[in-house]
Symmetry: C2
Subunit: 196 residues, 2 copies
Amino acid sequence: MTESSQEPPQAPQAPPELAISEQVAVYQREFPNVDPQVETIVSTLSRLSRRMTVAYGRHLNDLGISSADWEVLKALIVAGAPYRLGPGELAKRIGLTPAAMTHRVDRMATAGLVTRSRDESNRVRVNIELTELGREKWLESMRMAAVFEESLLQDATPEERSELAGALGRMLRRVEDSQPDAQGRTDDLAPDDSER
Amino acid sequence: MTESSQEPPQAPQAPPELAISEQVAVYQREFPNVDPQVETIVSTLSRLSRRMTVAYGRHLNDLGISSADWEVLKALIVAGAPYRLGPGELAKRIGLTPAAMTHRVDRMATAGLVTRSRDESNRVRVNIELTELGREKWLESMRMAAVFEESLLQDATPEERSELAGALGRMLRRVEDSQPDAQGRTDDLAPDDSER
DNA sequence: CCTGAAGACTTTACTAGTGTAGTCTTTCGT
DNA sequence: ACGAAAGACTACACTAGTAAAGTCTTCAGG
């Protein structure tokens, strides 16, 4: 029984997929202006990221939490001890409306990942606080991720890793330059998968 | 008027985001076992992919199509001339149920991106065929993407590009090895953003 | 002390997209 | 010709989100 208890609704089956080189060939056939090398990099990056998202999703599924839950756990962890923020602040950091955060917190409180309580000193405010369970789930997700990520990079020497980090970092800078107003500006189209 | 006509509902505002190095520092603080170099690579990759998805989403928004639409256009393009597939086959290739595909095709036919017609020789079957408009939209999306992608890699020499493609390709192979049954197995958790 | 305004969260109504199950139409074997 | 199978569509339910209205607490001013 590697199956987890709660299955989210699922796509019907595995779509057979073209190899990257085949896909680039298709693009060249249908759109001759394409640069094969650039397209190979971009397609590989895209598929890699997607597969990683799927892998993380499995890990989280095994832990019994959703990626939406994980996103909230992460925000609380990033906030640091005592791992406590208000719903509004959480919503702002994650890029959701407060109303959506209310629902998420409902689910997560029921699952025991966080507690919701009114602030002592100002009873208008509400505190969302990570429970020990929530923190443990996050830590466990990190343990699983660390193993997984190391396995992805097992071929790479420290020098190669360093070059890879540099190359990706330069690409990221270029993207951010091209999205001026967008320090994480998630408008226009939701990216949908939460960042690690 | 750079604004597109049809605005999808949107997240309320830009969440302020940590720099990658800050985020890695947080992970080290909260989970000491983390390898900073690995985490830097993975976080950069993740954020880069997300930003790219946002950028593509803007391009598509300017074209007046959704990423779900684009996914269908791509499948028809990949199928090659005469750019025609049945709903069931499309659903299989994209990883959707036939019912969901019916709705997508409804929208896209209304928008003039595809046509739906019964097959002449076998009147149970339905053919979804790319219109000239649909093909032109896809080509335009590729033109925009090509400019954008070249700008991302403007720093990289051909050698660096080649190394990057190699490194990402090796990582992708490792992921696929770790997801044995998963030739694009989209189960368990939907990746949500369509691959380029 | 009471009243009214502002702030923070919640509730309600609605939208978009998808899965499940059932229905309809056409085809094909007997 | 008839019955069964296949393919697509329809009806319904569910999830997760936004937007806007509502509720409750706090605090300032008369």
